[in-house]
Symmetry: D2
Amino acid sequence: MKIGILTSGGDCPGLNAVIRGAVLTGDRHFEDEFVGYRDGWRGVIENDLVPIPRRRVRGIGRQGGTILGTSRANPFHDGQDGAAIVRRAMEAEEVDALIAIGGDGTLYTANRLFEAGIPVVGVPKTVDNDLDATDYTFGFHTAVEIATESLDRLRMTGDSHHRCMVAEVMGRSVGWIALHSGMAAGAHVICIPEFPLSLDEICAHVQSAWDRRRAPLVVVAEGFQPRDAPAGLMDYELDEFGRPRFGGIAQALAPLIEQRLGIESRATVLGHIQRGGEPTAYDRVLATRFGMAVMDLVHSRRYGRMVSLRGTDIVDVPLTEAIDNPKAVPASRWDEARALFG
Amino acid sequence: MKIGILTSGGDCPGLNAVIRGAVLTGDRHFEDEFVGYRDGWRGVIENDLVPIPRRRVRGIGRQGGTILGTSRANPFHDGQDGAAIVRRAMEAEEVDALIAIGGDGTLYTANRLFEAGIPVVGVPKTVDNDLDATDYTFGFHTAVEIATESLDRLRMTGDSHHRCMVAEVMGRSVGWIALHSGMAAGAHVICIPEFPLSLDEICAHVQSAWDRRRAPLVVVAEGFQPRDAPAGLMDYELDEFGRPRFGGIAQALAPLIEQRLGIESRATVLGHIQRGGEPTAYDRVLATRFGMAVMDLVHSRRYGRMVSLRGTDIVDVPLTEAIDNPKAVPASRWDEARALFG
Amino acid sequence: MKIGILTSGGDCPGLNAVIRGAVLTGDRHFEDEFVGYRDGWRGVIENDLVPIPRRRVRGIGRQGGTILGTSRANPFHDGQDGAAIVRRAMEAEEVDALIAIGGDGTLYTANRLFEAGIPVVGVPKTVDNDLDATDYTFGFHTAVEIATESLDRLRMTGDSHHRCMVAEVMGRSVGWIALHSGMAAGAHVICIPEFPLSLDEICAHVQSAWDRRRAPLVVVAEGFQPRDAPAGLMDYELDEFGRPRFGGIAQALAPLIEQRLGIESRATVLGHIQRGGEPTAYDRVLATRFGMAVMDLVHSRRYGRMVSLRGTDIVDVPLTEAIDNPKAVPASRWDEARALFG
Amino acid sequence: MKIGILTSGGDCPGLNAVIRGAVLTGDRHFEDEFVGYRDGWRGVIENDLVPIPRRRVRGIGRQGGTILGTSRANPFHDGQDGAAIVRRAMEAEEVDALIAIGGDGTLYTANRLFEAGIPVVGVPKTVDNDLDATDYTFGFHTAVEIATESLDRLRMTGDSHHRCMVAEVMGRSVGWIALHSGMAAGAHVICIPEFPLSLDEICAHVQSAWDRRRAPLVVVAEGFQPRDAPAGLMDYELDEFGRPRFGGIAQALAPLIEQRLGIESRATVLGHIQRGGEPTAYDRVLATRFGMAVMDLVHSRRYGRMVSLRGTDIVDVPLTEAIDNPKAVPASRWDEARALFG
């Protein structure tokens, strides 16, 4: 078969390992031919693609990012007939099936295409771990490792200066990275969108750590807002130079903590370094297994489905599962984490 | 309650995070008092113990090794009445319950004690991942990360010198570390005890990589033996200086590959660096959760049981499960891995 | 002798290795006794100190931060008679000599004390590498490693998204960290305070990289300002929530680049993670050597001097040298670096 | 000009950064054309070369190993007229000048060619740091970082098991890597070829650490032999399977220490992982500067010379300096290091 691969949405450590796993499997066991669409759906829409011979995937399993590039393009954009666009593109290059690697948006698009009769399968990608359709996916643990390593460093400098360090990690709508990296680094309070603490609660935990002669470490997910945030606190509008009014929630929390408690506080926004790293071995193995397993879906014509991790097994589920079930931090995990606060 | 903790058997990254998780939970939520037995069962037998106040566990979650020390001592050694010994020791210090952190041997001992009426619970520890009673336990992924990082380095020097690099990783009876690190590093052949390849098969994969202008990377578990090993190949006896006759299976394979194929080959035995590292964030989180969960077992008097990871949940199972079910690499994972060989 | 040690100013990876080197040397070869003043000069002023027995320095050589704590306190603050304060404090505890570990401010204070007859020696500390009195000091190379690792990650995600990544590193008055980490990571333009580029020049380099299908990587020292910065660009005043108006120069540059060139740009401010890490081996060795060498100064009564690295040798120079000669990036190094831009 | 580059001898982190620095400089400032000889002098002898366009060096600065490959071939091998061979090869491809990147052997060969009238310049490479002609060269600090990281891990597992850990690092004739990594990791004894300790001395330091309740850490350079080694101890002959009789000096020392002191001891041979890593930022910067500076030698026709680091400056010296002056660990550095033993 001739198979088209695309990576779409935010990049994520492990994308290249998926591509490698799929291409090696197809090359060796099915004599498949692979093409890669550049920058996700944009490449499909504009018929911008490159062949992916086996030699091209040599050694990419450990590389971060994606060799195919990515974008947030979408064939259904502006009410266009995305299915027709994609079908035309596939026919033009005689592509028999598509492998779409991406998050809920990408998989939603893939499912619409599938419902329109296009042979497409999916590989779930979310650095935030917000897909309930799989226990974990590649990239999340790498991001947690990078965040934890940074938190360890912040704690050391915080201890030396007797400062409260406020660190902002990724997570617009879910707090998984904050929860895991915060637990790993022994944070004194973790702020996640699912269970918004109040400023009073945050300060109480900070004070309690301080009273035990600890330099308080506060980990906050970028999407967090304090339950009792003063009006305008989260005001992000740009100034005349196009600069954000401030760098993020961490930069809002640090001065508030300092004002309330009189404890010198510093903010750090980890930002893009969390998603750019080489994948950890855990993520390389998972991504490789996903890439290999998705080829079974293709060759058994189980279109409209995606690979998924359950326990230690790779299984497959309908693409719709990726869309219907966002995965927020459950109360049980939150209670577990908060039991260590302060 | 007054609770005794011990770490027994080979050390493993994450032991300290378990101790920290247990002590913080007991201290905050149950007003428990903790003592640590030095060097596993030896400390119990010799009544050698230290208090573990909350401040003692500060910041140990990221430390490798174990603050309590470990050994391979066993109260039932030489047919002694281990239960009586342990009971006496516990009574002498008014210890109400024991938390035994260790591998199958330790958990077997714990279960014998439980059957003799001693209030003991367990936390599974195996850097080799050979316990079927849990999906994973702490330490394994750290060892895989360290091994993979080393394999990445060996591959770079192998490529520059056009050499076949043979790397030996941990795994006396199971090949999990070899399987995961080998897949992560893109090894051309992985040798594990569960599915012993022959020298011919190994050489065939090495040659095939070589023919594609790759520097072959061979990952071998320490317990592997080629199916058709010449007599005496695995001969380990010590010489007059107490030196092992050779450093391990990798040092046996490398020259054989070089002799058969004429490809310059080098052996590296990763050894103890795999178990000594700081735990990864993954292992810190898992170990912390184990430490917290085992306190629920203690306080709900669910003795004779141990904590376990199933999917993303911490559950508990009888200690006997740890003993009855060693976890070897299954055929499905082996077929998956070998599909990428050569 | 009874020797007092203090660490003052911003923390820096390697401070603990200096303390360890000094204490081990004094303990073994001179039977010295050590006390540590808490939080730099504050501990001296308030007579807040702790004994540092040999066992206290065990294993601290690899720890970041400082076990003694640090602050920006200064005995001459508010025109006080700092010499009298320090002399009284030393007499009260029968401290024979002081080892002051710090940057130009600390060493300036140490020199004033020396001129007033106080037996004090110095160890230069500057994560920014802005002291001409020594080739390098500990902490700088660690900060460069951490920054470079982050830049490598930013480059990977930049490549995947075809974005211009703007990364801000430490360096208020000098650009050494930006220069070294930028060269190491292969940045397309490096912005340092010593040779302020204009926005036009920055954009020209970004465009030139873009035209060669590279994701532009811009490294900027926190103290940099474009030669032709529009009025108000660097406006840092706080808003009503005590938030800085923006997070730093990187957050000012990114939108300007995006506006001018139409290339999507993202800013990352590395911040405190650069100074909090475990020291690299290079810095551990240098710091240990400094700690050992400063004991020779003490026991040979060469007060008023500090240790220094020249080539591969540890030498000593007057404290005044640390004050009189800030070390900016020279034109030769700037020309060398810029030759790789664009 | 048309310039040929070759990398010869053992690989070393930073080789690719040298190539990148040279090619970018030549491409931008001199419109040079570059060719790379494959596998060092072998490529010259067999006229096996590849063009190195600018795009080929993209992103290689952080890659370990060498994109050109390396070997120990030598044009003067077997008394051949190496100069004639090289001249012919250069003329055949109209190569105007050679850049030889390698250790003392390579630079010796380069000098013989220069004396025969061939336009060649050199870049010193030695992971062992055994060239007196330069303060340091790239690769050494990377190897020290990797070794130190491993030693940190060995110390953690040693502490948990109360074992003496014996670690063998690179260094056949000089002990620089052992000296630096041992000091960085806080080893209790360091064994280097320049100042051979006796088994008694080694055991005395091990015992002294043990008596202070430390797990002794012994770092030994591969070329070390105890002053009083029993006859046959260092016997390396191969057995009938082509296996070395033992894995190295560490595997000889560990059992001897265990026999003499009754302290359980374990050996680890770090081996090739020390040379295969990605270069540290320090080595990337130094290698890049060397690559840029060597182009000045070429274009100013200062043939027969090589680049060198003195303090923080890149200078140039005659190739002969690399040959005449091996750099052993001097007594001053040895005394400094041993002052921390035991």
